[in-house]
Amino acid sequence: MDWQPLVLTFKLAVVTTAILFVVSIPIANWLSSTKSKIRPVLETLVSMPLVLPPTVLGFYMLVAFSPENAFGNWLNEYLGIKLIFSFGGLVVASVIYSLPFMVQPIQAGLSSLPSTLKEASYTMGKSKMTTLLKILLPNIKPSLLTGIVLSFAHTVGEFGVVLMIGGNMPGKTKVASIAIYDEVEALNYAAANSYSLILFSVTFVILLLVYLTNGGYFKRFAQ
C-alpha cells in the first residue's frame, strides 16, 4: 500500500489546525465581545462552510487563485506563490473550509465565561491581551480542545475542496480521501478499503478521546 496519501492527509491536517488555532482565537474573541452591527454578517461568513457544498468554495478559490486572474496573477508574480494544484493552496482552502469548526467552540467557550472575570482583570490594570492569555483561554480548555480536534478531523475528511483546487497529484495534493476515490474508480477495492479503514479508525479514536477528556473520564480514572 502507498502510504504517501495518508502522510499527506495528516500533514495537511496538522498544518491547517495549527494555523486555524492562531487565526481563530482573535476572531472568536472579537465575536464574543463585540456589539458591532457587522457581527451577524461576520458570523454568517464564518459559518458558511458548514452548509455550502465544498465544491462551491473550491470553485471560487480555483477561479480566484488562477494565474489567469488578477489576484492569482499578483500572488504568482510578486510573491511567487502558486496556490492552484499545490500543497500551499490546499492549506489555504482547508483553513477557510474548517474555520467554523475552530471559531464556534472557542466563541461559545468565551461567551460562557462570566464577564466579571474579564472586568476584574481590567480593574487590576491588566491589558486585554494579558487577560485573554492568562485568564480567559486557560478557563476554556475543553472548548479549545474541541476546536482543535474538530478542525483536525474535519480536515482529514475533506474531499470536494481538495479535488477542486488541488487535483490529484501524488505526493503534492493526493490526500487519502482522493486516493480512495481514485482506487474505487480503478476498481481496486482492497486498497480503497485499507485507506478507508485507517481514516475510519483514526477519526473514531480522536473523537472518542475528546469525549472522554471533556467528560472527565480520565480524571476519574486517575483518582
Binding site: P114, T116, L117, E119, A120, S121, Y122, T123, M124, G125, K126, S127, K134, I135, P138, N139
Partner: protein, 290 residues
C-alpha cells in the same frame, strides 16, 4: 474627594431608565449606596471604575479627572486605581488562592504585600486551594484580599456579603472595617441590610430610579438618633397580634424572633414586612418604624 456627575440611559428590566446623579464622597469615607434593585447602584459603581461609559458628565477623583464628556477624557479601567469586589467574587478558576492574589500585582511591585494580605485575611492555610473548593466566606476573603493587592485608594464592594449566612456576615463586616481603616481607603459599599449599613458606613446615599433621593450620616439616615436608648436592634415585623388591650409584635432580628409589646396606637402604624427599630431604655422597650 470623589465627585460624580453622571448621566446615562440604562436598559433595565422595567424598561428605559435615565440615571442622573450627583455624588460627593470625602476621601477616607465609608459610604453606602442604598436602594431597591434596579435603582442604578451597580451602574454607578461600574461607571466609577470605568467598566461602563456614562453618556455625559464628569468623574473627578482628587485632583485628577477620570471622565469628562466635554474634555473627551475617559480613563480605561486599567488606569483607574480602584479595587473592585464583585458580587459573584469573580475569582479566577484556573488559579489557586495565592496565584489569584499574585495576578493582581503591578509591574515591579513589592511581593511582600501578598504575604501580608494572606495573613490578614487568614488565607495562609488555604493559599494552595482552588476557588471551587472554597466556601462562600472564604471566597469573599480572597476577593477582598485580591482587590487590595494593587493598593487602591478606592475600594468598591458590590453587595459583597449578600450571599453569606449571618455569622459569616458579621465576621466579614469586622474585616471590612479593619481593611478600611488599615489601608486608609475610600470605600463604597452597596448593601440592603440596614444593620450592616449602620455598623459600617459613615454616610448613606439612597438611590431611586437613577437619582439620589436622600443622603445623610448612617444614624441620621435611618432616624436612629431620635431615641436615646440603652440598646437597639433593627429587624423586620413578622406578625402583629392583638391580645386584650395590647398588641404583641413579632420581630425578626438576625435569626431570632423577638416579641415586643406595643400599644394599639403604635401598632396601627406598623404592618407585616416593615423594617423596625427595637430599642430599650432600661425597662420599657420602644418599637418604631424606620
Amino acid at each position: 474627594m470623589i465627585r460624580l456627575n453622571l448621566k446615562k440611559t440604562l436598559q433595565s428590566a422595567g424598561g428605559k431608565m435615565v440615571l442622573d446623579l450627583q455624588l460627593t464622597i470625602e476621601k477616607g469615607e465609608f459610604v453606602t449606596l442604598f436602594g431597591e434593585s434596579g435603582a442604578g447602584k451597580t451602574s454607578t459603581l461600574r461607571m466609577l471604575s470605568g467598566l461602563l461609559r456614562p453618556d455625559s458628565g464628569t468623574i473627578e477623583v482628587g485632583e485628577a479627572t477620570w471622565f469628562s464628556s466635554q474634555e473627551n477624557i475617559d480613563l480605561k479601567p486599567q488606569q483607574r486605581k480602584v479595587g473592585y469586589v464583585f458580587q459573584d467574587y469573580a475569582l479566577f478558576p484556573n488559579m489557586n488562592v495565592r496565584q489569584n492574589l499574585e495576578y493582581a500585582l503591578q509591574k515591579n511591585q513589592d511581593r511582600a504585600i501578598i504575604e501580608e494580605l494572606l495573613e490578614f485575611a487568614e488565607l495562609v492555610e488555604l493559599q494552595q486551594r482552588k476557588p471551587e473548593t472554597l466556601s462562600g466566606g472564604q471566597k469573599q476573603r480572597v476577593a477582598l484580599a485580591r482587590a487590595l493587592v494593587q493598593r487602591p485608594e478606592i475600594l468598591i464592594l458590590d453587595e459583597p456579603l449578600s450571599a453569606l449566612d449571618l455569622k459569616m456576615r458579621i465576621k466579614l463586616q469586622e474585616y471590612l472595617l479593619k481593611v478600611h481603616k488599615k489601608y486608609k481607603l475610600t470605600t463604597i459599599l452597596v448593601s440592603h441590610d440596614i444593620a450592616e449599613i449602620v455598623k459600617l458606613s459613615d454616610s448613606v446615599f439612597e438611590l431611586q430610579n437613577g437619582s439620589v433621593v436622600k443622603k445623610g450620616t448612617a444614624t441620621d439616615f435611618f432616624g436612629l438618633n431620635k431615641t436615646s436608648a440603652k440598646f437597639r436592634f433593627s429587624g423586620e415585623v413578622l406578625k402583629i397580634q392583638k391580645e386584650d388591650v395590647l398588641y404583641v409584635i413579632s420581630v425578626l432580628i438576625g435569626n431570632d424572633i423577638i416579641r415586643v409589646v406595643s400599644d394599639p396606637k403604635e401598632a396601627e402604624l406598623l404592618k407585616v414586612g416593615d423594617q423596625v427599630l427595637v430599642a430599650s431604655k432600661a425597662f420599657n422597650p420602644i418599637i418604631q418604624k424606620i
